[in-house]
């Protein structure tokens, strides 16, 4: 930890302070949305191999019933979010722009919200291995946006050992507040989920890191801590991208994940609060992940808030429910810093969707900006949380020296947080340059 941390909240070096825009949604309790007429359930909602469908066109399924099974270890099953009939398996648009095979589920009118599948199980009686299997069976993935299968993350390789579970409650992206609400409304489920994760990984201590703009969540969780002192809550500085794994570990523990490495190399495993709270809710009941909380916000949304949405709900349906306006709009899945914009309103909400933002004219106009030459103001250098030199990388990209970027200037350490583009007074789309450079390098290597 740097010297400055002695005088403030724990934090990492560099980073930016975009307006948080959470005041409205942070105070809005989670509300359930009704079922849409049709659910679009992509088979590749997680990182890894897509799930294999186990239903056919015409089958009837009940809410909570598995409709696809995991294909190997790095994969998870998918459960039916509503009672209804399978209409088919077709290519449908996804958040990443590529169409993907998806199960179409026609929801019965008046279908019940009750989950009709799953058996209660006592976690305490399970072996660690059975616990990890139960986590895979629940279809759980990282709900913060990465959608990496949770049981894989919680399986520590033989040759490594971890001592600390870091629980990520930063939610550093502007607008998003679903994790904030989960911490406030389901603290006990979160504590349960943390215990499961500690058992699965064999860690003795857990630290929950929360940005200090959510002190109510800090207090709520502190009031619900177990007495044995194994779990603690730490407020960290509100700064983007505090919620990035590497930054949060640095802030809380002062350890640096080696370049190109993963946290378990320095004895840490990180999970998102939303993920662990959902695990705490689902595992005892033996249920699968069929719905999630998303923040619907942005200047274009009429009723911003946090909504519990069945997975597979098309964003167009969500938008009809909350209302939106603007003759020129941009729809973003996730936060404004890293979330992709989508063009198709039948793109579904999936396991990794943390938010749905609608930006309209004022923002869009102010963003349609002229690109000026780099004036070497060094703002990007002071913003990059990875301590890269985005200014120089950008100039190399303009000269198409993509290999030099990777070999000499650590291009591959960039995780595309967008801090450099955010601060650039010349409006240079640095992150986009870096994405292109990485893609071309990958192609060259292949």
């Amino acid at each position: 930890m740097s010297l400055f941390n002695l005088f403030g909240r724990p934090s990492f070096n560099h980073g930016i302070h975009p307006p948080s825009n959470k005041t409205v949604t942070g105070k809005t309790p989670i509300r359930r949305l009704p079922f849409p007429g049709m659910l679009v359930i992509p088979l590749n909602q997680h990182i890894g191999k897509p799930a294999i469908p186990i239903v056919r066109k015409g089958d009837e399924v009940v809410r909570g019933q598995p409709v696809a099974k995991a294909d190997g270890f790095v994969s998870v099953p998918i459960h039916a979010p509503a009672t209804g009939r399978i209409k088919g398996i077709e290519l449908m648009p996804t958040a990443l722009g590529k169409n993907a095979p998806s199960i179409l589920l026609e929801v019965y009118e008046g279908a019940t919200q009750e989950v009709l599948w799953g058996e209660e199980q006592t976690i305490g009686d399970m072996s660690d291995e059975a616990l990890r299997q139960a986590i895979q069976d629940s279809g759980m993935v990282g709900l913060g946006g990465a959608a990496f299968p949770s049981h894989v993350k919680l399986t520590i390789p033989e040759d490594k050992s971890v001592d600390t579970l870091v629980v990520n409650g930063c939610e550093c992206e502007p607008y998003l507040s679903c994790d904030h609400r989960m911490m406030l409304e389901h603290p006990r489920a979160l504590m349960r989920g943390i215990r499961y994760a500690m058992r699965a990984t064999g860690t003795q201590q857990a630290v929950i890191g929360i940005e200090d703009n959510k002190m109510d969540a800090v207090e709520t969780l502190r009031a619900n801590l177990p007495r044995d002192g194994s779990i603690s809550v730490e407020a960290v500085e509100t700064k983007y991208p505090q919620g990035s794994e590497k930054m949060l570990i640095k802030s809380l523990l002062g350890r640096e994940v080696p370049a190109g490495g993963i946290p378990s190399e320095i004895g840490v495993v990180v999970n998102n609060v939303g993920t662990l709270a959902a695990l705490g809710q689902l595992l005892p009941k033996g249920e699968g992940l069929i719905e999630r909380v998303i923040t619907v916000a942005g200047p274009g949304v009429k009723q911003p808030g946090n909504y519990l949405v069945p997975l597979g709900t098309p964003i167009g349906f969500v938008l009809d429910q909350v209302g939106y306006e603007g003759s020129q709009t941009e729809f973003i899945l996730g936060g404004p810093m890293m979330g992709p914009a989508v063009s198709a309103l039948d793109t579904p909400v999936t396991k990794g969707t943390s938010g749905l933002l609608v930006l309209n004219e004022p923002d869009i106009e102010s963003e349609t900006l002229r690109i000026w030459p780099c004036i070497r103001c060094a703002r990007c250098v002071d913003a990059c949380p990875m301590h890269l030199n985005p200014s120089h990388l950008g100039q190399l990209a303009a000269k198409r020296k993509y290999e030099t970027m990777a070999e000499e200037f650590h291009l591959n350490d960039c995780f595309e947080c967008g801090s450099c583009s955010y601060v650039c007074p010349s409006n240079i789309p640095l992150v986009q340059y870096f994405r292109i450079a990485k893609a071309i390098n990958r192609e060259q290597a292949a």
Binding site: I16, A259, M337, C374, N389, H392, D413, V423, P425
Partner: protein, 348 residues
């Protein structure tokens, strides 16, 4: 699913952007320079005003000419040529012949900026390139100083101001005698110090009750204007600070090893063009390093070079060459001071 009722935008991340752009930064630098220009006009009268206008216009026209030669895009709107013009005028003697000022402006933009490819591409500070050019071309005119605050400065030009192009400007000595200014030696504080060993009072240096280039006299005013920019985060405070640190450090070192010629630190800091150079020229973003350690080295280098040139060089003032050398060294400095990337050879 019903179609969206509106036009859907698709853009890459991030979808939000910090307020302010290059134009806003440049415009604010112009705002910050205006009080300094105003003080120069109040102090030196019509000649300074005419010089400011001429040099700035010359810069703008040259910039426009290269626009026309090149892309056709009008880059006057980014205010950078205006900054170069005002800064350049502020570094010239107030009674500098106007036609020579125009030459300085042309040299600044043509040789200092357009030749390298325009905004953001120049290696050296354009205003200082212009000044260096006229320093070499017109060595007498650029060291001809006129008194400050003389009566009638708002009703008459110094005779040298209106000199005809390509002719030797008339001497101002007789004109200064006629003005009956008390005790005007025709020397700047630095020249007085260097050649006669007279150290000008610090209060006079701070408030600008001395002579010198049009805009360099009041250290205090420049400090305030620079701080305005620093507080608005449009100027990297580390650069002026390290430049001043370099001056202080070198003066202190010299007083250890060479007490005979050692200058007074406070005098070094507040005399000549150091304040203007540190706050408005060394800090020019384009010519300075972007790496934290690089900024430190760059600042210290400029500061120490300034003192060394002032004390040991043939010139009375060293800020201009110190900054130009700092600019030239920037690519090298940056190359050797790339920051340690997060997670590379973890230091702890």
């Amino acid at each position: 699913m019903k179609k969206s009722k509106s036009q859907i935008e698709l853009r890459t991340t991030p979808h939000t952007h910090a307020a302010g752009d290059v134009v806003k930064i440049m415009r604010n630098v112009v705002y910050a320079l205006l009080p300094i220009a105003g003080f120069a006009i109040w102090q030196f009268g019509l000649s300074a005003l005419a010089l400011l206008i001429t040099v700035t216009l010359s810069c703008l026209l040259t910039e426009r000419f290269f626009n026309w030669m090149g892309s056709g895009y009008n880059s006057l709107g980014d205010w950078s040529a205006t900054i170069t013009g005002i800064l350049l005028a502020l570094t010239l003697p107030p009674a500098f012949p106007l036609w020579m000022g125009a030459v300085a402006g042309i040299a600044a933009i043509a040789l200092g900026k357009a030749l390298f490819g325009g905004l953001g591409m120049n290696v050296l500070n354009p205003a200082l390139v212009g000044r260096a050019f006229v320093q070499a071309a017109f060595p007498v005119a650029i060291t001809t100083w006129t008194p400050a605050f003389f009566d009638g400065r708002f009703s008459q030009f110094a005779p040298s101001t209106l000199a005809l192009p390509f002719l030797r400007p008339p001497s101002v000595d007789h004109w200064i005698e006629l003005l009956q200014v008390d005790a005007f030696s025709g020397a700047t504080p630095l020249a007085l110090y260097k050649f006669e060993g007279i150290q000008t009072d610090t209060v006079e240096l701070l408030t600008g009750m001395t002579t010198g280039s049009a805009g360099e006299t009041s250290a205090l005013l420049i400090l305030v204007c620079g701080l305005y920019l620093a507080f608005r985060r449009m100027l990297d405070w580390r650069i002026p600070l390290t430049v001043m640190g370099g001056v202080a450090l070198t003066s202190a070192l010299l007083s250890l090893f060479d007490p005979e010629r050692a200058p007074d630190t406070v005098f070094m800091l507040f005399s000549g063009g150091l304040m203007l150079g540190a706050w408005f020229m060394a800090s020019d973003m384009v010519g300075s390093p972007v790496t934290p350690l690089g900024i430190l080295i760059y600042g210290l280098l400029i500061g120490s070079l300034t003192v060394v040139i002032r004390v040991y060089g043939g010139l009375t003032e060293g800020v201009m060459y110190a900054i130009l050398l700092g600019n030239a060294a920037t690519p090298l400095i940056e190359q050797i001071t790339q920051p340690r990337v997060f997670g590379q050879r973890a230091s702890k």
